[in-house]
Assembly symmetry: C2
């Protein structure tokens, strides 16, 4: 099936999240003309699954698509896509719409909106507060910011990606909310790892401890999603520790910008930095428990 | 009504929690013979409500009751009740049972068990992971440790206090679990205060932000209990910041004892210490938001 009158889509950045969204929108009937990734093999793996062509330059994505979704890693990667010179999504972009899904510093979204406007294009930020299965199933929690008219025009497409869609406000505002969500989530995760790690060190039954947490003031969403994984050292990646480090730093930089001291957010950023320094950044965020369980710490010292 | 064959009760420490439990057990049919508080007027206020006598020494409580419930503030107060010399609950305590409800350093419970055993008495720790309304209604989440036989004998009484009753293990073990519950709860509370404070500083709509938190990985029990209070500066005390400071220090001391570094627990303890230093220790734990909302910080500087 195909969606009549629907825009043709292009994708830039087809890692776990980007590929999941592309497959979902393909199944929902959207035509996808081009996919691009700096890791060319990722684009080539995905292309046949969504009836698209894997292209090797950014300008080709803009040329072939009406709406281009970008799902990249960080500020530098996102800015690179919209470079003012050289190969760039901005080449021939008049009339096109960009939907940028990465968790970034808010001002990057504002800058990109300005660059797009100056060339007759539109842009939105679409911040995802969910993980890989939700991307694949079209059940993301999606917070969108940018011009209201652009949001209204893109709403049918955004609804196919999400179970919950929310327009937040002007460019940068959804990224702020997203940074705060991840900041609090990461604090709760690092805190839970301390509770379970100390419980293990005291010889408590961790099944019992997690159940008590779940029925008391210690309850949290991350207890449900990460508690057993911390206990069992199952750190298959849904949201990497490297991403947690990056997002914690986005939040602490925002705090710094308004002269606010946030000691827990800073301590959390340091924990995730340590994981990255230990070479564990590609493990799931639950791996922060590797720093707080005494036996695991001892193992690392033994290895080093 | 009265419970046939039931033990006669005494109460030591009748602040908000102790008084609530006494009223609940009185209504459930238990006879209460004596109540004691270092704040004599608290005991005199409660006594007529529960058909008891307000007594002015600890030995009188032991003398008049079969089972003595203690609900005091901290380690020093608890140790004082069981002093080896002078006025003490230990005077004439053979055959009596003590149920100690405060959140304390686990080894205090172990010490008290030993002192009681040496004099032919029994003791239990009954750690409460709930607040004032639950004490009054008999719906506490109650974690109990000590000798199993003593627990079994006290179970009918403990069930009248609780909606959820759990035997954890040997003396000190319930206090360890309780310390971990409060440690994680306090981390989540201090982290939430940072998220909402930064949201306010960035000019975000805090109603929207709390709703987004509630639907994402930032969700927690303290978001439900304290989120609106942080936004609205409603810090009526259910669990005081001074208690949060004390409990955070119990947990960090336990961590220190097993040579474990817990940076978030330490940062949280420092935040609650700061509240106490600012004279805000008697406000609810939600008052930690007074440290993280920029306007509130500015007010304090203005006042100082």
């Amino acid at each position: 099936m195909s969606v009549t009158g629907a825009p043709v889509l292009g994708f830039v950045g087809v890692g776990r999240m980007g590929a999941g969204i592309a497959q979902r929108l393909h199944e929902a009937g959207y035509s996808i003309s081009a996919v691009y990734d700096v890791n060319r093999s990722a684009a080539e793996r995905l292309a046949p699954l969504v009836g698209a062509q894997a292209v090797s330059d950014l300008a080709s994505v803009t040329q072939r698509a009406d709406v281009i979704l970008t799902v990249v890693t960080d500020d530098a990667a996102q800015r690179g896509l919209f470079a003012p010179i050289g190969d760039s999504l901005l080449v021939g972009c008049a009339g096109k719409t960009f939907i940028n899904c990465a968790t970034l510093t808010p001002e990057v979204h504002v800058d990109i909106q300005e660059r797009c406007r100056a060339r007759g294009a539109q842009s939105l930020e679409a911040c995802m507060a969910s993980s890989i299965p939700q991307a694949r199933e079209g059940t993301l929690y999606l917070m969108v910011a940018g011009e209201r008219g652009t949001f209204d025009r893109m709403q049918p497409l955004l609804e196919k990606m999400s179970a919950s869609l929310r327009y937040i406000g002007e460019a940068g505002s959804a990224a702020k909310v997203k940074a705060l969500v991840n900041m609090v989530m990461n604090i709760n995760t690092a805190g839970l790892a301390e509770g379970l790690g100390l419980g293990a060190a005291l010889g408590l039954d961790l099944e019992m401890l997690r159940e008590v947490f779940s029925q008391t003031g210690a309850r949290s969403r991350v207890l449900e999603t990460d508690g057993a994984d911390m206990q069992n050292r199952e750190h298959e990646t849904f949201f990497s520790s490297a991403h947690a480090a990056k997002d914690s730093h986005i939040a602490t930089a925002l705090a710094h910008g308004v002269d606010l001291e946030l000691p827990l957010a800073q301590a959390t950023a340091r924990q995730y930095d340590r994981l990255v320094e230990l070479g564990l950044g590609e493990l799931d965020k639950s791996a922060v428990a590797e720093l707080t369980f005494p036996q695991r710490r001892a193992e690392r010292v033994g290895v080093a």
